[in-house]
Symmetry: D2
Subunit: 139 residues, 4 copies
């Protein structure tokens, strides 16, 4: 299964008064992982929306194993676990530079049109996503 | 000039690792003040957008005088300082319960249509906003 | 089981370009629900932290059933599903004014000291939380 | 004056229902610019805070000239306009890939200790910041 890596640094605005990253920001990082996964698959999500194809979130789950702090370098590893004509599931691991898993989780999505109505993905998009999804990751 | 008061409590998500409210959140509170000012004026901003009338921000300025902390009760005092056919300026004071000014600032806006093109406000909306804007505040 | 209701209005800043609330904001609303549940139980969370008792999130899950939009009035219903000496689980339902469930979910927490080390809750706090948790909700 | 460039992509979470970046997020980008300016100057801001030296924001101003959208590549150009023993001012330009200025602004800061009390910067830090601040930008 193809795994796409994205790197970022923790923003000051992402911390809270515990001195660590506020947990909801991990969902934002998951979304960044999806964005880069779609780009790597050849279908930038911005283009999908411009073509009238939306992938809203219907379910999330996440486990927080260690905290992260301002300015920490973070790596997001994203894969698409499941794809059907109606939706998909992404899974994520958030790692610190020393390889410790800070958090992991998944998001479920349905496909909708611009009016928010559930729809099927086109054969072209589904075929391309499936080919990328199930390919071996390099290295 | 009519001043509209809005009350809220500081959210945990609004704090940062200094243990105080992250400064950009004051702009969110300014926006909440605008929302409630427009509602008090009889034109909820959600209705304006549904009618194709948008009020994007073109300029902000703010001064932070004292910090605020999680769960603090905060009062936002909002007034419309200036109104023309092309845009408007709101001004804000953010107060702690004991009446200390935590922050103040202003936001400038233009009027646009749904495509983001600068436009004039309708006579009906401008008239209503001006009547409310320049009225005496009760008490 | 005691259920605490909290009301809010959707902020403009909470929307995204789909025109609906960005999903991570539901976690912020869950946190607001927790804050008000603790206050109703007689132990404001701000006081707990001042006393060196922290309740970080270790796991989240949420299901998004319907979208919500800017300025919508929203009700958060919060209950504490589980309490032990080491942690607790909160559960939430987010409702629209007409009673439709927009989202539901839960958060798991451990208790820690100010240095982030896992700890037991004091008998006094645990006793008070348990009495409130397991009480009948009024009406 | 030394100008430090930082690149990022607009996050989905940074958009609002106008379909563009919510204005308060430009302040977050300003902060990212500061972070990278301090790192380039040899004093990562995370290290400053660990050493008990804080630089909270006391004043902001910003002008929004053009909108930006999800997934747009953005460049932040940051310089330190003023430095004294008591505080400093940063200035920012936010540019699109074609060189258009999307927004510009500035933030004023004071120096404080960990308890939030105003303080003087040490000669070592002030000297290093001043040397970097007033140096020519390469190229």
């Amino acid at each position: 299964m193809r795994v796409v890596r994205t790197d970022l640094r923790v923003r000051y605005s992402e911390t809270d008064q515990m001195g660590i990253v506020y947990h909801a920001n991990y969902l934002v990082w998951f979304e960044i992982g999806r964005t880069e996964w779609c780009r790597a698959a050849g279908y930038p999500y911005a283009d999908m929306e411009r073509a009238g194809f939306f992938i809203p979130v219907t379910r999330i789950e996440g486990t927080f194993r260690r905290s992260s702090s301002y300015d920490d370098p973070i790596a997001i590893f994203t894969r698409m676990e499941r794809l059907s004509s109606r939706g998909c599931t992404f899974a994520y691991d958030i790692l610190s530079p020393d390889g410790a898993v800070l958090a992991d989780g998944s998001t479920q999505h349905i496909f909708t049109d611009a009016q928010g109505r559930a729809c099927r993905g086109s054969d072209e998009i589904l075929g391309a996503l499936e080919r990328f999804r199930s390919a071996e990751s390099p290295g």
